[in-house]
């Protein structure tokens, strides 16, 4: 790592940079092929499980009454949360003209698009009759019936589709100059692909100005969309009158949690591509350092929201809420709760807060902990509340996930890896033109 420190990206000629970033597009190692086959197989297994579930009925997963929402909703919130890694962080960095953003933005924006594609599938997998999921989409139809616009699930669908559209544009727009360059340097189907996607970009002043304006506009819009998306996801819970769900804090709490897990995912993926794509010269320690400061800030914010949520519930001492609170903090779910506190607060607070301890390895460890902790947080939101509805006669003791839902949850991680691997083979993972267009900010 030290040897790379000497040649920072600013001293490198642009051709060298282009060469380094484009190399993975040309050369495919055996290791890459094996990884793709492996994660592809796991992803296919997940698809098979989904098919099995549709064939047999949703009863093959562990859901019961009253725990009608479970693993799938938990994973939905988790993936939508991680999707905030990309677009939101990239937009903030663009709007604040953070010069160090250049090697980070595209990797981040790609995370958003793929996480949304995966996260958006979960509510459909979750449905009792997924083959008619389009009943939720507002369009003039033969049923002569619009969806119920008062339902948070319709808001949810709208928000996620908007975010997905915006994120794809946000990823695609700044890729156009790179695609045009690539079209000049490739042959065959790649040339056809890049030339088609480059939309006839010639690099004139007018085009550069249009791109710049578009990116400024998109960065502003996507910020608003990103915040609202996770607020709406939170409202899926907060609009219900279930104990400890019906809370005004949920909107901002979920947004903070989403950004928290999003930065962790981004740092982790950066560490991985840095190592495996030999981009040590571009993804420098200072990029990790800067992003880890953001992670540290979100860690403190997370603590603030968690204390606010639990302290008010405990002080209010309402019977229905206390029942859920009790199982969470000192009952059946307590081990998970305190593990969450360790993962989300203690580990990142110590590893990132003490400067001597802070390096790429400890930052990666913190990121893994935060991802586990945030997954647990969603678990603790979904399960205890549903198992303890207001009438005590309907309480259940627990929830046992089955192999089907565990397989599907695991396979989505493989699907994410697969999508990212394919993306990194088709498109440059670092925006090369940004180095040329604005040499140094």
């Amino acid at each position: 790592m030290k040897s790379n420190m000497a040649t920072t990206v600013h001293t490198l000629p642009h051709d060298r940079l282009q060469e380094d970033v484009w190399r993975p597009l040309r050369e495919t190692s055996t290791r890459y092929v094996i990884t793709v086959l492996l994660v592809g197989a796991v992803a296919l297994w997940g698809l098979f499980c989904w098919g099995y579930q549709i064939h047999k009925g949703i009863g093959v997963v562990g859901k019961n009454r009253p725990s009608m929402w479970a693993f799938y909703i938990l994973n939905f919130v988790f993936w939508i949360g991680i999707s905030h890694a990309g677009t939101l962080i990239s937009a903030i960095l663009r709007l604040t003209h953070a010069g160090w953003r250049k090697p980070v933005t595209r990797a981040a924006e790609a995370i958003t698009v793929f996480c949304l594609m995966i996260g958006g599938l979960f509510p459909i997998i979750h449905l009792g009759r997924p083959w008619i999921f389009y009943y939720l989409i507002p369009y003039p139809n033969q049923r002569v019936l619009w969806p119920n616009f008062r339902s948070p699930l319709v808001w949810d669908l709208t928000a996620i589709l908007t975010y997905l559209t915006g994120s794809v544009l946000f990823l695609y727009l700044p890729m156009i100059p790179d695609l045009a360059q690539l079209a000049l340097h490739t042959t065959g189907w790649r040339r056809f692909l890049y030339r088609t996607l480059a939309l006839g970009w010639t690099g004139s002043d007018r085009e550069w100005h249009a791109l710049e304006r578009a990116m400024k506009l998109m960065a502003g819009l996507i910020l608003a969309v990103a915040v609202s998306v996770h607020t709406v996801v939170a409202w899926d819970f907060a609009m219900a009158i279930a104990p400890l769900w019906h809370s005004t804090i949920f909107g901002p709490y979920f947004v903070v949690g989403a950004i928290f897990s999003g930065i962790a995912a981004l740092l982790l993926i950066m560490a991985v591509i840095r190592k495996f794509m030999n981009l040590e010269a571009y993804l420098e320690p200072r990029h990790f350092e800067n992003l880890s400061r953001l992670l540290f800030l979100m860690c403190l914010l997370w603590l603030y929201f968690t204390v606010s949520e639990n302290l008010t519930a405990w002080y209010g001492n309402q019977p229905h809420e206390m029942q859920v609170f009790g199982t969470r903090v000192r009952g059946q779910y307590a081990p998970w709760f305190w593990l969450m506190v360790v993962c989300n607060f203690i580990v990142p607070f110590v590893l990132l807060g003490i400067r001597r301890l802070r390096n790429i390895t400890t930052i990666s460890i913190s990121s893994v902990c935060v991802l586990i902790g945030m997954w647990l947080e969603r678990f603790l939101i979904v399960f205890p509340t549903l198992a303890h509805p207001p009438l005590a006669a309907a309480w259940t003791t627990g929830y046992n996930p089955t192999w089907v839902e565990i397989s599907i949850a695991v396979s989505t991680f493989a699907a994410m890896a697969l999508l990212y691997l394919i993306f990194s083979k088709l498109f440059p993972i670092i925006a090369v033109w940004e180095y040329r267009y604005v040499p140094d900010e």
Binding site: R129, N148, L157, P389, P390
Partner: protein, 240 residues
């Protein structure tokens, strides 16, 4: 859209159905549960599935225990859909599968339901049931299906309808006879089968109906009243 589905519907409803359940009379015999199963084609859930919390009983009898063994008093409370006037299950359904009909019944349209199960989360009484699998009856039980009630498919929610098929039949019979619906002429299966006559069904918009008088009797309370969802099931017990 060219087609109006609204024009045929009555402007203001004639009836507002409600129920009173006398807890001092209920013996916890569960005849209502059995009657409901027979009347409404409820699926038979196997023991293993039932143990996982997947039973389907549109009406159930909750038991509450007072005191320490051996000096225990048991209280029974039949719980069915409360047909709330401000039903929390209704606004959250994205496809209008659960909606309020003009007579105050909270009804479920099975064909619309996509199975988000949000309504069940938002029901404070936990009286909404989901078809986790294709419904099943051990032979020859399928031969006794009630032809007036649809059999529900896999993946949809279902719940107590106040025996809407009996309500419709009662109104039709009264119309053919050219008379208003007589109080007590319509009885859901649970009411009809209650040996202790603890349950009364009727029209709350008629102040002289038996259910209205019981609801006003001073013995009536509503379950989880503080939530403000305005249930139309009244529980009667001795005022303390």
């Amino acid at each position: 859209m060219g087609v109006s589905l609204v024009a045929d519907q009555p402007k203001a409803a004639e009836h507002r159905w409600g129920m009173a359940i006398d807890l001092d009379r209920c013996t916890g015999c569960e005849a209502c549960v059995v009657a409901c199963h027979a009347e409404n084609n409820l699926p038979v859930i196997e023991p293993a599935e039932a143990a996982r919390g997947r039973t389907v009983h549109w009406i159930r009898v909750d038991r509450y225990y007072e005191g320490e063994f051996p000096d225990v008093k048991v209280k029974y409370m039949p719980v069915l859909c409360q047909h709330c006037d401000d039903a929390p299950c209704e606004p959250v359904c994205p496809v209008y599968a659960t909606y309020h009909n003009p007579e105050g019944l909270n009804v479920q349209v099975y064909n619309r339901c996509v199975g988000t199960r949000y309504c069940a989360n938002n029901c404070p009484y936990s009286v909404r049931f989901f078809n986790f699998f294709e419904p099943h009856w051990d032979s020859p039980l399928e031969l006794q299906h009630n032809p007036d009630v649809a059999v529900r498919m896999v993946g949809v929610m279902e719940k107590c309808t106040f025996c809407v098929q009996r309500v419709q039949r009662g109104k039709r019979d009264a119309k053919e006879a050219g008379q208003p619906v007589a109080d007590g002429a319509i009885q859901p299966a649970c009411v009809q089968s209650c040996p202790a006559e603890a349950m009364v069904f009727g029209d709350l918009s008629d102040p002289e109906s038996k259910v209205s008088r019981l609801a006003e009797s001073g013995r009536a309370t509503r379950l989880l009243e503080d939530l403000g969802v305005k249930p139309k099931v009244f529980y009667l017990q001795k005022a303390k």
